[in-house]
Each structure stands twice: as C-alpha cells, then as structure tokens.
Amino acid sequence: MSDTPQAQARRWYAQRISAMVLALLVLGHLALMIYAVQGGLSGAEILARTQGNVWFGLYYALFVLACAVHVPPGLANIAVEWAGWSPARALWVARLFGVFILVWGGRAVYAVVMGGA
C-alpha cells in the first residue's frame, strides 16, 4: 500500500467520517448499556431483546463497520509514532486488524440477532 499524501488524506477523512457516525452510535450504546445492566444481565434477557430484531442488527452492523474503518488509521499512527514501525508495516497490520474487527464483529452481531434460535 502506498503512503502518498493523498492516501494519508483519505485515511484522515475515513477516520473522521467514521467518527461522526460512531459519535451517534456510541451515545446510543452507552444509554443502552446503562439501561440494560440494571438488575443484572442474563443470556435469555439479552437474546429476548436482540433475537430477530432487524433494527438492532442494522444498528450494530453499522457500528461494527464504522469501527472497522475507524480503528486502523489510529492503530497505524500509534505503531509508527510510539512503536517505531515503518509506515508500510503499520498500515498492513492495522488493516488486517480492521478486517478482523469486521469479520469477528459481524459474527457477533449475527450471533445475537440470528443465533441460538
């Protein structure tokens, strides 16, 4: 992957646009967590809320996608500036981590919406 100024600008924008999406989604996630943990959580209680819930699935699928876009640029910057990695190596590893987030997060959303039925 090239690390031209254009590529850097694209990563900067991708991180900011995903941040705007995440700002709204995280606010909802915080509110849901504070509400949901009252009185303790159980597997049945979680699945009663999530199983077959299309809107819940779409909300969290978008959340996972935004995370997969938002995380890699930040991780790459940290690897370069704090760990001394080369930009090319940092970008590849960070991108792989982003793909992992997408796949593993997608599996988690599938599990709570479609799984265990």
Binding site: M33, V37, G39, G43, L47, V71, G74, F97, F100, Y110
Partner: protein, 118 residues
Amino acid sequence: MKQRIDGRNRRHAAYWAFWVHRVSGLALALFLPLHFTFLGQALQGAAGLDGALAFTQHPLVKVAEWGLVSLLALHLAGGVRLLLLEFSAWRGLRGAWVAGAFGFATATGLAFALSLLG
C-alpha cells in the same frame, strides 16, 4: 528560528487530551476482539451467553467494565471535541471541552456503576 521542544507543550491540557484520546482508543480497540468473542457465544443460545456472563460476576471484571465504559465515554467526548476543532468555525484549543469530556466520562461511568450495582 528553530524552536526547542522542552516539554512545556506536554504540560498543556490539549496535550493531555491527545494522550488520553490515543490511549483510550488503543484500549478500546484491543478490547473489541474480546467483546465480540463474548457476544459470539450467543451462537450457542442463551446458555452460551450465560457461560460468558458468569465470568462478569467477578468484582475485578465489574471494575474493568466500569473502566471501559468510562474510557468509551471519554473517547467519545474527546473525539467530538476534535471534530469541532477540525470541522467547525470555532478557533482555539477548546480547553473547556477537555474538562467537559472528563466530566461527561465521569458522569457516564458513575451512571453505569450505579446501574451495575443496583
């Protein structure tokens, strides 16, 4: 004129905001695989999730949960400050937003802790 970096910049609230935003982002990113592994237990139904939830009964795990929620709130508020700095017409480093971000994170963390213990 060449300027010497002597650490004064690191005593500024905006530097601490940068540092906290970066470290909280790193912690949250590293937590995500664990979080998704936990939720993936739902593939085995409610019993699978209950097995994972048993782990969260440990007091130290509850403290960690509170810490992560606080970090998420902190990263959110710090991130909104950055977006306002970069995309709005406002100028300056918005020092009050740094304090506001810590206040928001503390309030959110306390609300979560109260719910968790209640």
